[in-house]
């Protein structure tokens, strides 16, 4: 019986151990994340160009629009 209580208690405490690293960022804690250097794409124009080349050369359509023929002219 005692063993069972221990097992249930440890099951209840398990999420706290497992989720320990999954810290939730609260809305007021996003100061550093909001900085420009934290963006995935540093420069908007460079990102746009890279995107264009990617979808033209790779003919990868999903998500970015229509795939190109490889000429980079669309």
């Amino acid at each position: 019986m005692k063993q069972r209580v221990y097992r249930i208690l440890s099951a209840a405490c398990l999420p706290a151990l497992l989720l320990g690293a999954c810290a939730e960022v609260k809305p007021w804690q996003k100061g550093d994340l909001a900085r420009p250097e934290m963006a995935f794409d540093g420069d908007a124009l460079a990102a746009r160009l890279a995107q264009h080349i990617y979808f033209s050369k790779e003919n990868a359509s999903g998500g970015y629009g229509v795939g190109g023929g490889g000429c980079g002219c669309n």
Binding site: A11, A12, P15, A16, L19, P27
Partner: protein, 169 residues
């Protein structure tokens, strides 16, 4: 004890643990009393209970939040227009670094009460959902309205809520 039943108990305990870990207890909501705070301000300490009897508009803002920047001229306007009728706007800054807030205030002046909470204890107790989040607190200390975000289109509606809380028609 059959293994199946004990498994279900374990699962329930696990779910309880997850719920306890993720719960957001004590959120401030419309109709409830506004949680008390005492914070350092631009001109001395700012305490909510000291403003009892006034209509208090608590606005959580940060220097990196652009809707906050848009809201400041409107907040200044509201403070100027309804200050005499008993409106007190309290802008609680949540920047981790005070210098960021000071930099912001140089660009966007605030003509209302300011308070600083770098630790984020107050927005946590109010359970602010986004930036900015504001709470309109009636003369009796009860929250009468709350908004997340600021859009220019919302100005009229927010002002109407302030007027209603003040009893101005």
């Amino acid at each position: 004890m059959q293994p199946r039943k004990s498994g279900a108990t374990l699962l329930a305990a696990l779910a309880l643990g997850v719920a306890a870990y993720c719960s957001d207890a004590g959120a401030a909501a419309v109709g409830q009393g506004a949680p008390e705070f005492e914070l350092p301000g631009a001109g001395g300490a700012v305490r909510l209970s000291a403003l009892r009897g006034k209509v208090v508009y608590v606005d959580f803002w940060a220097s990196w939040c652009s809707p906050c920047k848009q809201s400041f001229p409107w907040l200044n306007e509201m403070q100027a227009r309804y200050g005499a009728q008993g409106l007190e706007i309290v802008g609680i800054n949540v920047d981790a670094r005070r210098s960021d807030a000071d930099q912001f205030l140089l660009q966007v002046p605030a003509r209302f009460k300011l308070a600083f909470d770098a630790r984020g204890d107050t927005p946590s107790r109010y359970a602010a959902k986004g930036m900015p989040t504001s709470f309109l607190i009636g003369r009796d200390g009860t929250i009468v309205a709350t908004h997340v975000g600021f859009r220019v289109d919302d100005k009229g509606r927010f002002e109407e809520e302030i007027r209603r809380a003040l009893g101005v028609n």
